[in-house]
Amino acid sequence: MLRETLATTWAAKVSSLLIAVVVAATCLASLMTVGRSAAAAAEVASRMEQAGARKLSVIDTRESGFVNERTVRVIAGLSFVETAVALGTPFDAVNGQMGAGGIKVPVWPVMGEVDHVGRVARGRAPHPGEALVSTSMLASLNLAEPVGYLTSSDGLRQFPIVGSFTPVAPFEDTGGGVILAAPRETTGRELRVVVDNVASAKTSLPVLLGVLAPPDPQGVQIDSPASLAQTAQDLNAQMAGFGRTLLLLIVGAGGFFVAAVVLADVLIRRRDLGRRRTLGITRSDLVLLVAARALVAAVAGAVLGCVSGGIINQVSGSPIPLDFVTAIGVLACLVATVVALLPAWYASRLDPVRVMRAP
């Protein structure tokens, strides 16, 4: 039957070509519209999954000390927390060997895992009281190598430099200075927490505040991505709804045209179908033959439409995920086959005697 299907698909060139063209156009139109919309939604979702979008920030504006080593450790251990690091109030420092005339750079005391703030580029991870200089600030500090020491701008404190670092999201702001492994017993000003997913930002906040237990709610400033997450969710839902409707319209129109072509083919080839029935093909095999013919032509069209749609989107800078392209192709073939079933069923019900005896 497969051989017969392929042979008759090839023999019925006009209808096969029409089906292939309609399916190719369906795939191409879907990829150029719904595909781009889906790609945009995926991009939004991807951005929302980046650490910067999952960052919660709690600032102790009155420096009452509730952001401390203990609370940071407890919060870092929570199941929904990916990273929890506290930053102290930044202060200025200069290259200790240059003295007070050196260029001042900001220093952020860090409580928690320093490697969550910056990745060590050279040297080693700092112990409490030791500093890492951002790779981009080495030249400003007149350092050929990340060694030496820093002196606070008031000249009262000195910190050995044990290496350089590149900042990690969401701590990119430290890239313009120095991070200091905070000495023990110090308190932080800002707690930055990266939750495991943006949707849990809203529910996470009460838990964090429960652990921090700020003595004065007026002394707390909160920066949460909850509203951003909600906006993104709403946007994605709207884009998905729009995409579904558009896809339904495009695939529906494509299916309608395929059904029309198959029906026309059945009507034109009544005698061929009547002969087959007379020679002994069963109704179910005839349905299968007509539907499979549509499927073979649809597969050819889907490959053409998906490949060209994929290339056009790639070239125009809106690459569409391969699984989406494949899904569109499969859907178009499936619809073409399903809509062919009705004319195929009609073909199987044609009276072969009437057809064969017609002049």
């Binding site: 061929d272 002969r275 007379t278 020679l279």
Partner: protein, 215 residues
Amino acid sequence: MNGQLGVHALRFAYGRGAQELFDGFTHDFEPGAVTALTGPSGRGKSTLLYVLGLLLTPTSGTVTLDGVAVSGASDAVRAGLRAKRVGFVFQDAELDPTRRVLDSVLEPALYAGHRRADLLPRATALLERFGLAERAEHKPGQVSGGQAQRLALCRALLNEPAVILADEPTGNVDRANAALVLEAFTDAAHEAGRTVVVATHDPFVLERVDAVVTL
């Protein structure tokens, strides 16, 4: 092989209120003989052929094949019987115009559930027997009317059916080709013991068959 084909108390009408045909006709078509159905136009020669071929269901009465009533069987069973036990020859040959004639000859193998490769030697042998071997790769439009009818005979004989039904098989061919067609029917009946039923009003055919049934 058998192929004992019979009708009993047969009546048929194309629809409610349409003229009823056959008036309780009963007859057994003997294997090993060529039987011609004849009669004036409108008496149902071709219709009887299609009833015998299980394409039409009698209004009343039965069609039997080897003693088994088959006219009331399901469509799938009747299609299977047509594919495996009945060979059809049409007035216009009815070859697939888009395929090679070899494909047309092999077409019934597909419906009878045979592998194409298994019946390819038989198809080739039939083409050789009817002097059409060199036409195997041609399209039906590239062969003459007589050759097309002989190709239809090859197709009808491919599955070695017990029954061959032919509707005006000499209607569109010259006398020489008509003789060839009739000779093939006679061989199929006399040598292979098949039941051959031919609907015709051609005196040339009526003079050369084993039995004539006038409707």
